[in-house]
Symmetry: C2
Subunit: 335 residues, 2 copies
């Protein structure tokens, strides 16, 4: 592995994505990507007693499914990288508790999927792990009541608000010959342009997305035209427009090559999700289904996947703070 | 870097700790380690409006001080690894926001210091970073009101409870010739023996400490006698005793070579902290002061530093869940 430019890490023998799995909820399974997911549940409790326990089960099931698809056992995986949106990341702690695998807990809000996969790649490339697993989740009900209002309050939502995805995605990386590979990773820095509206996460995250993407293009001396598609995590409609405007200022136009996982997972015409989907589980579930499928089918051959996170909490918002954004980027290629 | 045994990562050219700094609060500065810390504040708000903002300032100040002591600027550091106990880790997000350095957010509860330093070492060893910074914090007031009761409620505390340290520690690692080095790192797995008492974190974390330490001894074919001291993060008096009992069962006795940062930072006779200090900032501040000073003075030459974390949240506790523990370990040597 070597650093190229200022920020980008490039792997001489790019780690491969051996296996992946996604599990989603009812609304996600009613959306345009229904056929792409491995598993779904129509029960928002997923057979558990609480929403938080249901979220842990989403992670656990995604990991078990990814292991099963790879015909691997827990013994084959040396490190798990996981995170989620819940206070003290209990979705992950309780999700990975029974696996008996060394656990590196992460917090990157909705940027966690790219963060965890990036770290997993670095671990396998350096020989720290033979195989490493990355997993993240979110759950509409656990997130909504934690960040905003009690669910049964029935609060009206402004048009810029997004709908937290109920879902999880897990994948396993390692050195080998099979599977899509990750030639490079760029970890992002925090950007904060002063957005304070907790119902407009897209606008808060767009500056971080622009920063990381511009760093990557500069480091690699490439541009949007070199990639089949650039996926963002959950900028939604407002954040995507903000990203275009910020990139325009630097003379970069990604409009015709951009897809946002938050806009792909729901049908905004029919599903009443306002500005689109969001949550750690949004980009995780779309990566571990639609995106990986298209790479396997060689319909996509060279993409950028950039999850974006809003690093505020209700407490920081109540204290008048603005919302720091962050974005981490992976380049993923099929051979 | 190579894996030795099942869990331990060993560096051929061990990363060095170039610089370190600690900042603590009033009570910590009245304790036995008062003379060791770089900075302290007697104002629990640290000149800010809220406890949470004060905690971010602790991190920020620790990082700035570590940079200054190393005569480095932000430009010299390629990645920051940071985490804390607050919901959505806002202590870190707002603490590192203005540094303009790629940020890897972590959540490992009180295990975060060993986790962040371990990852920073891996990044510099693999060439991903020229220099990497690790920082964590805790604040008695922000933690107490989030995890337990409003501060002015004046709740009585049971004897097993611990006192969250107000403080932060930051350090900078890289390849070089100067400073103590980190020859090996062991990332731990979650252990959960069913402890449910949120006022007895020590007992909940001890099984994880035992597991990680035994893995390290097995992987390296060493024992307690090979190290000058084994530091645990914040097991306190109850957790330390639990650790001894768990290790006894495996025929390992660390009693005469063990110190716990939570027992070192306060005077339990005079400072009314019950079972000892705790919090991410506890092991961070003690590592970045007392421990590093003794390594520099060669009074300690070869130690183990193991931070331990309790991965529950108030929500998981209210839902009847037990407390998952985790521990990560660093070996640190002076030449």
């Amino acid at each position: 592995m070597k650093r190229i430019g200022k920020r980008t890490l490039s792997f001489a023998n790019p780690p491969r994505i051996f296996s992946y799995a996604s599990v989603v909820g009812k609304k996600e399974h009613e959306g345009p990507l229904a056929a792409e997911f491995d598993l779904y549940t129509t029960d928002r409790f997923y057979g558990e007693e609480t929403f938080e326990k249901a979220e842990s089960k989403l992670q656990k099931t995604a990991m078990q499914t990814a292991l099963k698809k790879a015909r691997m056992t827990n013994e084959d995986v040396d490190h798990i990288f996981a995170g989620d949106l819940l206070n003290q990341c209990i979705g992950s702690s309780f999700g990975v508790r029974e696996f008996g695998i060394p656990f590196i807990g992460l917090y990157g809000a909705c940027s966690t999927m790219a963060l965890s996969v990036g770290l997993a790649c670095l671990f396998t490339d350096s020989g720290a792990s033979r195989h490493a697993m990355a997993v993240t989740s979110s759950h509409f009900c656990s997130a909504e009541r934690q960040y905003r209002f009690p669910l049964n309050y029935g609060c009206q939502r402004p048009p810029t608000s997004q709908w937290t995805v109920t879902g999880a995605g897990a994948l396993i990386v390692g050195q080998g010959e099979i599977g899509a590979c990750v030639p490079s990773v760029t970890f992002g820095e925090i950007q904060d342009l002063g957005i304070k509206d907790m119902n407009n996460m897209g606008a808060a995250m767009a500056p971080a997305a622009a920063s990381t993407l511009l760093h990557f293009f500069e480091d690699t001396a490439t541009g949007p035209e070199d990639y089949d598609l650039i996926f963002t995590g959950d900028l939604g409609s407002v954040g995507s427009q903000s990203l275009y405007i910020l990139l325009d200022r630097e003379g970069v136009d990604i409009r015709c090559r951009h897809s946002d996982c938050g806009l792909m997972i729901f049908d905004r015409e029919k599903q009443d999700v306002h500005a689109g989907g969001s949550g750690c589980g949004c980009s995780a579930a779309v990566l571990c289904s639609y995106i990986m499928h298209r790479l396997e089918e060689k319909k996509l051959r060279n993409i950028l996947f950039m999850s974006t996170g809003a690093l505020m909490s209700p407490t920081s918002a109540f204290q008048g703070e603005s919302i720091p954004g962050i974005a981490h980027l992976l380049q993923i290629k099929s051979d």
